[in-house]
Structures are given as structure tokens and as C-alpha cells.
Amino acid sequence: MELDPRLWGIRSMLSRVRHKILVLSGKGGVGKTLTTALLGLAAARKGLPVGALDLDVTDPNLHVVLGVDPGREWPGERKGILPVHVAGLRFMSVAFFTRGRAAPLRGREASEAIREILSATNWGQLELLLVDMPPGLGEEMLETLKLIPESIALVVGTPSRLSRDSLARLLSLLAENMPTRRILLLENMARGEAVLTSLAREYGARYIGSIPYDSRVEEALGDPSRLLDTGPGKASECIVEAILDYLSS
């Protein structure tokens, strides 16, 4: 019989991480990476031990939002690979090893990379680990949901009708196939009234709040303290509170 020892490694490495949150969406470009960064930075500012992991293995860009240059930083080693510290946040990404260059991966290879990173990263003790996922209902999402069965799905959607349609598909997939999984819905690029609350109710997800659209985000990218000063940054502080409330109830 042949076993993949990483499956045990993953459990062991994540055993000291209290809550794992996978940031998901069906369609791309809805703001998973930005919200992963903002929620992580806001939680770190509150003094929580928090980690952020970029699992968008073929096209990682969380380092850009956080202002980390993968060509210059190199994770240390101690009982595994150590995340890099940015503004109080512990950060890990495949970009450190690909030096920010393109790594064309087929489905199975993306899963291999995900297993490797999850089993090798030594986060230490964390209250919260936020995982930025690639868009889509494919290999990466299915593999990560399986590897971390206790994780919470934080689904990001925008008010656009196109986004809602795709959101409904993802929510129904999660609700049908993984009935015990805890699901949160976050509305991003909100303009005024929240429009996704009824969708959340329909699929048994918890609506966790909304983040407004703010054109100042673009120039603040790469600068954690400026990002936290934007509308989305401030909203993220409330959303972190809401998530912590939800997790403790």
C-alpha cells in the first residue's frame, strides 16, 4: 500500500490553527484577494494571531495587495517553512518559490502544489487562517475543501446579476454536497443597499456583511495601512467582528 504522508502532515500543521476560512467564488474578479488581505490585516490590527495563504497556485497575487516582493523575501525554515510577516500578518504564497513568474499547472499538479504548501507551512498558533482561492468550482476548490474538512467557506459575491447567478450555483453546490460545512456570504463592491441577503437565506448561508466599492483602493494596493484607511478597509474591521461573533456562537 502507498500513502501520501502529506495528508497527515496537513492535519498536524493545521492542528494549531483554530479557524480556517476558505475565500471562494465561482466567477473571477469579485474581490477574493482584496478581501482576504483586508480581513487579515484588520484582524492583525486587532492583535489576533492571523495568517493569510495564497492558494491561487497558477496566478497568485495576494503578495501584490500586501506589498510583498516575492523576489526579495524568502521564507525561513523551522519545523517546516515559516510564513513571512507583513503588518502583523503571517503570509505564505507559492509566489515565493515561483518568484512571481508563471507556473503553468494542470489540475492534478495544482492539487500537488496545494498539498505541498499546506503540509509544509508551519503557521504556529493561529486564531484565524484566511485562504485566498482561485475562482471557479474546479480542482483547487474541491481539493482544498476535502483537505480541510473543518474549514468554513467564505463566499464572495458582488451585487451584479451576473455574479448572483454564479453565486447561486456555488452556494447550492456547497449546500447540497457538504451539508455540514459552515458557509458565510460576503457582499463586495456594494453600492448602497445590501442585495445578497435573501440569496444567503435561500441557501442556508450566513450573510456576514458588505464591503463598499471605493475607487481609492487601486492606489492603496501594496500599502497595508493605506488599504485599511479606505472604505473597504474600515468595513473589513466590522466584518472581522461579525466573523468572530459568528465563530464564538
Binding site: 500513502l3 515565493f96 500537488e112
Partner: protein, 127 residues
């Protein structure tokens, strides 16, 4: 050390075998050449732990040659024929899939390359 994390996974896997009531008689740690693990370091962690957990089992270490195949032109070659800097080796050591950035097909230059053997660590257990 990163080797520690891999060894830890192996020990946990063997422990679970024992808990489920099966007794391994032979354990083979198959290490892919691509990941370039330090086997001496691995043995330093594993030998004492395994000889305590499964004293009757034989424990062996095997290095599997890393081989590639180009998906564009079908060319096959081995890691030994690829030239890598020590930094590139280090990146691949942490994340074998990083080879896609540093290794191209020597015949046609394509980056759509598959590693057909010798990627990472597998644990072979016989009873």
C-alpha cells in the same frame, strides 16, 4: 528544517496504521529526486521514531529518479540533464511544482512539461 515536516507526516501516518490495528512489516520511504530531500536529515528524525513505533519492521529509503516528458513534442529526459542554479533547486525543494518555472523542454522549449516520476515523497507499507 522542512524535512522535519515531511518526517512528521510519515510518523503520524504510521501511528494511524498502528491505531487501526495493522502491523507494518516493511516501510519504504520513496523520495523523489526532484524534491532533493536530505535523506540523512530524514533518517535522523525517522529512524529513532520508527524503531520505537514499529521495532519489528524493516525501514528502507529509496531515491526515485526524476524524469520529465514534454506535452508539446513528447520528448523525455531526466533531471540530471537539466541545469539549475542553487536558488532554483532550493525553490523546487520547497515546492516541486516550481520546476515549471525553471525547466523547459530541451528539444522544443515548451513549458508544458510533466514530471513522470520522482516528484516527492511516498510511503510504501507492507504487512
Amino acid at each position: 528544517m522542512h524535512e522535519w515536516a515531511i518526517a512528521e507526516g510519515i510518523i503520524k501516518a504510521v501511528e494511524e496504521q498502528l491505531r487501526s490495528g495493522v502491523k507494518p512489516s516493511r516501510i519504504v520511504v520513496v523520495a523523489g529526486e526532484l524534491q532533493n530531500l536530505d535523506l540523512e536529515v530524514m533518517r535522523g528524525y525517522l529512524d529513532p521514531a520508527l524503531s520505537e513505533l514499529v521495532p519489528e519492521a524493516s525501514v528502507e529509503y529509496e531515491v526515485e529518479e526524476a524524469r520529465f516528458e514534454c506535452r508539446s513534442c513528447g520528448f523525455k529526459w531526466s533531471l540530471k540533464e537539466s541545469v539549475l542554479t542553487s536558488e532554483e533547486r532550493e525553490a523546487i525543494h520547497f515546492l516541486p511544482e516550481a520546476f515549471h518555472v525553471y525547466i523547459r523542454c530541451p528539444r522544443c522549449g515548451s513549458r508544458d512539461v510533466e514530471v513522470t516520476s520522482g516528484r516527492g515523497v511516498r510511503l510504501r507499507i507492507e504487512y
